[in-house]
């Protein structure tokens, strides 16, 4: 659906971060998680269970390359290579195509685990919105999945829908949230659920000269409502957190909170010592994978694949 445009309005900016406080060569266990989503991919590297590096980049048409790219840019300037990694777990939509991974775990388990680490053990409900689907997860204080639900066989209200929308109105996706609140009053929501028809509905509104901000508000509200329907089926409990790209879109998040009557947890690292580290909601999956890998190696459940 996204027309090829020079400027990619739909994509969240890429990010790379390396922890200056850690020298990986002194570490004993080095694990990685690589989350290859349909739209963006992330890699997280842990040294002895501590966050060492992560990257957040786009997914190309070839998953293995996307996985390699994600990991390599994360450790680009550190000298660390795949060969130094004890264990790597692939997750996400392209998880079976992560060449350096020793095993795969679904993003459902990984996001719950990652969210538990990022936001703390009080997290009970995690909402992850990927490009293709939207997952609502209930978990315990360890980040163990108790039950979960995913959207039905229609992509209405998925991240992809939002990207198509951003492309269509030529507004960078990170501006949609803020601008969606610059409206006199909440407009009626976009009624069409099909991404393609929603698109023509939006075109219709643009033609009628409806202000862009109002249209953004309408679209965010529609998406928030779809997510709310899914969450209600599962049952939402505090602490409630949203991971994935959509978490960055307050236009959706604020409206969702309003519909649910529940606030989402602040985007602050649970570990106090992490307070200055960047907090990227999109890395939850990769982080969860890396954490699982760490636990497996340290408990000796798997043997290290480290080459040097």
């Amino acid at each position: 659906m996204a027309e090829e445009t020079k400027k990619e309005y739909w994509r969240w900016p890429e990010s790379i971060w390396v922890n200056p406080g850690i020298d990986w060569e002194k570490g004993t266990i080095i694990t990685a998680g690589v989350d290859v989503g349909s739209v963006s991919s992330q890699a997280v590297v842990l040294v002895d269970g501590e966050l060492y590096a992560f990257s957040n980049t786009r997914t190309g048409s070839d998953s293995p390359d996307s996985a390699r790219k994600a990991l390599s840019i994360a450790v680009d300037e550190t000298g660390l290579t795949v060969d130094n990694i004890d264990y790597c777990i692939g997750t996400g939509y392209g998880r079976v195509n992560v060449p350096m991974a020793q095993r795969t775990i679904t993003e459902i388990a990984c996001h719950a685990r990652g969210a538990n680490f990022m936001y703390g053990p009080e997290v009970r409900t995690v909402m992850d919105m990927g490009g293709q689907d939207c997952k609502a997860i209930n978990c315990d204080d360890k980040g163990k999945v108790l039950n979960f639900m995913m959207n039905d066989k229609c992509a209405a209200g998925t991240g992809r829908g939002m990207e198509v929308f951003a492309d269509l109105i030529r507004v960078p996706v990170w501006e949609i949230g803020p601008r969606s609140f610059q409206v006199k009053k909440e407009p009626p929501t976009i009624s069409s659920t099909c991404v393609v028809f929603a698109k023509s509905e939006v075109v219709g509104l643009l033609e009628k000269g409806v202000p862009e901000n109002d249209i953004m508000a309408a679209y965010c509200a529609a998406m928030a409502h779809r997510i709310m329907e899914l969450l209600n089926r599962l049952g939402v409990h505090e602490k409630f957190v949203i991971t994935g790209g959509i978490a960055k879109n307050e236009g959706v998040v604020k409206r969702l909170e309003k519909e649910l009557g529940i606030k989402t947890a602040d985007k602050i690292w649970y570990k106090h010592s992490y307070k200055d580290y960047p907090f990227d909601t999109q890395i939850a999956g990769a982080l969860g994978a890396a954490l699982f890998a760490g636990a497996m190696v340290s408990k000796g459940k798997v043997k290290s694949a480290r080459k040097k």
Binding site: M1, K153, T158, S200
Partner: protein, 275 residues
């Protein structure tokens, strides 16, 4: 007698100008977001091509999903009505019309006089539209044309769920991951849509002759797939048939007496507003 038909669709605008029943000129352009302006521009341009002035045109009839936005038109008729008239002029023996455009696939059963006897339109979901193919082409990282061309090379058939365009994309991507030949995936996409369209067409009964029009009629990959289900003819410039039909309606309106057309126009516009 000079008349014009303007078809403003989801993706493209088409204009056909008839002079004493013969095509004087025709033109097409992308609709974009400001459809009214796009129609205006293309109309002017086509008139220039035909060396005609606005005031020389006796009657202008618009059609298409955004036809009602053409302020300068004397009337606006439903797109299926334009299809019926256009096809009836080009292929008098046609009894079934299949029109697959950017955002809609429909089938119409027509009488020998081009009267609409029955019609069916694909419901609710974008599967079975040109937009669906575009989305898949993007997923395959090629143009719709390239996709059409290579799909013809494929001999396999992979069942695909043409349910939702977005899931279609993910299905395509996962097929790519399974290292399935792009040509086979392209064919799978065309087969899926052809299946959708065929079932819509069956609702009106597939009486012969069957004619397919609309932008997708130019996609030989899709046509190849649909031909496996339905034997049909494709007129020249199948994407211009709607505009041609509108022009026909304009001519007929003039012959009867223009007011009639005007009234029809207003009726439909009001009808539209009632919706």
């Amino acid at each position: 007698m000079i008349v014009a038909g303007i078809d403003v669709g989801g993706k493209n605008v088409h204009v056909v100008i008839l002079k004493d029943g013969a095509r004087a000129a025709q033109g097409a352009s992308a609709t974009g977001i400001q459809k009214a302006q796009a129609a205006e521009r293309l109309y002017e341009e086509t008139l220039r091509k035909a060396g005609l002035k606005r005031e020389e045109v006796g009657c202008v009839v618009a059609t298409g999903s955004a036809g009602k936005r053409v302020a300068f038109a004397d009337a606006c008729i439903a797109d299926a009505a334009a299809d019926a008239r256009g096809v009836n002029r080009l292929v008098p023996s046609a009894r079934t019309v299949i029109d697959v455009g950017a955002e809609e696939g429909r089938a119409i059963k027509i009488s020998p006089h081009g009267k609409i006897l029955d019609f069916a339109i694909n419901e609710k979901c974008a599967a079975g539209t040109g937009t669906f193919v575009e989305a898949m082409a993007i997923a395959l990282e090629m143009s719709v044309e390239e996709m059409a061309a290579i799909s013809l090379k494929s001999s396999t058939s992979i069942p695909m769920n043409a349910q939702c365009a977005v899931f279609g994309e993910s299905e395509v991507v996962s097929l790519i991951h399974q290292n399935i030949e792009k040509q086979d995936i392209a064919k799978a996409v065309h087969d899926a849509i052809a299946g959708r369209i065929a079932s819509v067409a069956r609702i009106v009964g597939l009486e012969k002759d069957i004619v397919i029009i609309g932008g997708m009629a130019k996609n030989e990959g899709f046509i190849d797939s649909l031909r496996k289900e339905i034997a049909m003819d494709i007129p020249d410039d199948p994407d211009f048939v709607g505009a041609l039909g509108a022009a026909e309606a304009a001519a007929k309106g003039l012959l009867e007496e223009k007011v009639a057309v005007k009234v029809v126009g207003q009726e439909i516009v009001e009808g539209g507003e009632a919706s």
